[in-house]
Symmetry: C2
Subunit: 360 residues, 2 copies
Amino acid sequence: MNILRTIYAEDLDDIAIGGAILGTGGGGDPYVGKLMAKEAIRKHGPVELIDVGELADDALVVPVCMMGAPTVMTEKLPQGDELLTAFRKLEQLLGRKIDAVLCGEAGGVNSTTPFVVAAAAGLPLVDGDGMGRAYPELQMVTFTLHGISATPMVLCDDKGNALVLETVSNAWTERLARAATVEMGGSALLAFYPMSGAQAKACVVRGTLSLCANLGLELRESRLSNGDPVGAIAGKLGASVLFHGRLTDIDRRTIGGFARGTARFDGVEDWKGQTFRLDFQNEFLMAERNGEIVCTTPDLITLLEAESGNPVTADSLRYGLRLVALAFPCNPQWKTDAGIALVGPRYFGYDTDYIPCDAH
Amino acid sequence: MNILRTIYAEDLDDIAIGGAILGTGGGGDPYVGKLMAKEAIRKHGPVELIDVGELADDALVVPVCMMGAPTVMTEKLPQGDELLTAFRKLEQLLGRKIDAVLCGEAGGVNSTTPFVVAAAAGLPLVDGDGMGRAYPELQMVTFTLHGISATPMVLCDDKGNALVLETVSNAWTERLARAATVEMGGSALLAFYPMSGAQAKACVVRGTLSLCANLGLELRESRLSNGDPVGAIAGKLGASVLFHGRLTDIDRRTIGGFARGTARFDGVEDWKGQTFRLDFQNEFLMAERNGEIVCTTPDLITLLEAESGNPVTADSLRYGLRLVALAFPCNPQWKTDAGIALVGPRYFGYDTDYIPCDAH
């Protein structure tokens, strides 16, 4: 098997930074997952990243992730073994050995959690994920677009409780897993969407974990050389600058388990005299410049601190921050009718069609 | 195997009446379970009731039940196959054939639901249950007192979703199953507390299903002979009359998924000039006469219409009803320290110790 690269504990810092950039303001803090992954790699050894094309068609591949409210995930740390427990229970349920680990969501905390299981189980990790970004609900993965069932799924908590779900649709998986996660105290660990190598090849968004690592590296190197961190990240992503401004107003509500809100910016430097508005539901989902929509989900909107290039989450937005908003195109799978129905602006309640960020 | 009696479709009417009496005002309407059980018996043949002593020590016995809000259970009827599906899934999970069906709760709707599975699976049904009455939470069974785990448990809904739970305690089973049931629309069907014949012999409250049938028969015969239905039921149960009065006030709230409330009565006939107060949380849990507590959970308090002897649920209490309140002792297992901790008045938030109804 061809190894793309070997990931050591110290590589996780870069990956977590990249995960925060692809997290588009949400996805949970990669810090927690990073600590868990570092610990697992120190204990069990490094993780081999492989291209999905290396998998045999009849290989068994299983994504793992952490589910819950970002704030809770940061405060209520897992015991450490739950992800592996969920993974092993699913393996037992399926009655055969799992051949590789997959990342469900390369944005946010789940950019790093799959390394925990890959290290502990001594399995390769596929360089890719099911989103190419972060989204808040379990069914919002390219796997769903390819008709892959989220179940059988195993969900474990920090107390030792385990649930196996078999549902009639991935939307029902989300509903039932969400209810269980809330009852378990707001966060849970899961193994789900068991799929064949052939299925993985058809649906995985490729290269997103090495992209995360490269984004982190780019940012680090650009700072060391006193370069332009924001420009370096934008270049790496092929992103356009939507705005550069200072945060003047932030409105945040928690509705239906989402951190919803709106942030408003006044332009600085070249953008002086212009305004910018960002709507979020955990993730940044819609951007308006001078009253005109310039980017919507499923395209990615990310905020970077203007000086340092550090990614900023919706949680940490506060008055006065000087930020640059970047937009870059989503994976083409999201641009299909089925993709737009699953994660387009109307699913999230915005009364607008998808407007590709590269249409401007 | 010694058969105690064979239950035909027409016997279910009596059992449902008896189930409503042991339901102590709650437990869900036995009508729905009765319809399901009649249908199953007509399709698959009658059910053989056996004493728990007939089971081999290494037999595998599994209780089944319906879970949810009584009001929802009456309006959102199961498809019909969910109980058997849950039962079969648990059988598959345990990797061996189940030898007999058990009733979890002989009061309310679950006095009749086990007949559905026993008929469809062609298995004997143990004459007994895990409560000798009705209680609202899954862990409130004598099985818990004997250290039997509620899990692995299978929970199915009418849409085709299924959950397997493995929990660290029976209280956690209740929490997670409750959250799933609410998400599934308010009712679900389950198979749980898999146990050996030896365990069943130690913990089952014996004879409660034939008691239900006999209570229904007693009421029917007493009416046919223009006898005293209330007196006949009281005689059969060894119950004392707590009060005979007219409902003057009813206060009902839904708090934390419970139908909580208080009913007040003014005495009639021999009880003229006296007052009576009944507190309920789904089930009737505490009775005060003239300001003095005269019965508390785990002893049973049941209300009968004074003329007809028909059992009355907390849901159907309304101004002006003339009712007789009966009290009768619970199964001795509930009178232990562990029993009182699990279902005594303090668990339900009443600031009083258990006062046995036969202490007066």
